[in-house]
């Protein structure tokens, strides 16, 4: 009980600290306030954005994206899997390069960023992993070549941002040579 009291500071001490801080900053300039005309414009702009966000077209696009994107991924995965598995089932050891070139362009780009993977002596049966299980370095190179910085960060969910920051904080010198 005594230890708990010691851990939680007295509010009187807080008030004294806060008062001292106010005295220390009395000469500082306060951050500039927006002009009086800003507030009505904020109302108007926010209402416009609410209208856009709740319009039937916006809701349709939102739902279409939720359904269409996973649907397209599922269809692509199916056809790629079909091409990938058929050679194995017929025991036809097609060269790995021929299998890769039969894939959609997007998947090919990621593998072609590291062409040392490919070799005419390799066959599809040697590919023991899912072609979409790509090394992170390849994925990073692909993102660097085709995406903007803001696209990369805007695509992160809040949990992913927290996870990325944790990893970057513990491994900054490994991941970003030359970073401060």
């Amino acid at each position: 009980m005594k230890r708990r009291d010691q851990q939680i500071p007295d509010e009187r001490i807080e008030e004294e600290l806060a008062a001292e801080i106010r005295r220390m900053i009395v000469a500082d300039q306060a951050p500039p306030s927006p002009s009086p005309s800003y507030w009505p414009s904020l109302l108007v702009r926010t209402n416009q954005r609410i209208d856009e966000a709740t319009s039937p077209k916006a809701l349709t696009i939102s739902w279409a994206a939720r359904v269409a994107i996973p649907g397209v991924v599922a269809i692509l995965t199916f056809f790629i899997g079909l091409r990938y598995f058929i050679p194995m089932q017929t025991q036809d050891a097609a060269p790995l390069k021929a299998v890769v070139m039969a894939m959609p362009d997007r998947a090919v780009d990621t593998l072609l960023s590291d062409p040392s993977w490919l070799g005419t002596s390799l066959s599809a049966t040697d590919l023991g992993v899912d072609p979409f299980d790509m090394p992170k370095e390849q994925l990073a190179e692909y993102l660097i070549s085709s995406a903007s910085v803001r696209t990369v960060t805007e695509a992160f969910s809040d949990d992913q941002v927290t996870e990325v920051l944790t990893i970057l904080g513990s491994r900054s010198s490994d991941l970003f040579p030359g970073a401060r």
Partner: protein
Amino acid sequence: MEQKSDQELVQDVRSGKREAFTELMRRHQERVYWVARRIVGNHEDADDIAQETFIKAYIGLGEFRGDSSFFTWLYRIAVNLSFNAVRKRQVLNYLRDSELLRKVLPLEEDPEKLLETREMMSRLEKAVSLLPEKQRSVFILRYYEEMAYDEIAQILKTSVGGLKANYFHALKKVQQYLKDETTGPTDT
């Protein structure tokens, strides 16, 4: 026009009266703006976050159960959005700091402008921007907004005891920063 309470206006919005939500915005927009401004540190981001806060509130009004005040609920949205923006900016800064990536990625913001923004911040704003996230949020809500600990606990979903400890540490750090700015760094 009689002055309706926030709860009554919320009911009106749920009944389809859009102008009731405009009235709610009018009442709370300044406080929402300023809490965002103090977390993100600049007007442009605060403006965007203020709008996003009200958009999320309007769309998610069905989820508001009324177990806290409308303003507490709104504040929680604003604080979360503000810290999300700060964290994304931190990731952006990591990417920009990488020499490798700087060579291949176009910079979308002028780094000189970013530096200028930081220099325009007051000493207190700078001190607060350096606090860890939990301490920064409780400092802004307690020191600037003068909110009670119970209310802050509802916004940040943490215990009053934890808040008091965070606030105390935040005050000490800000005080030390301001002292160092005035007299030069001292070893503690």
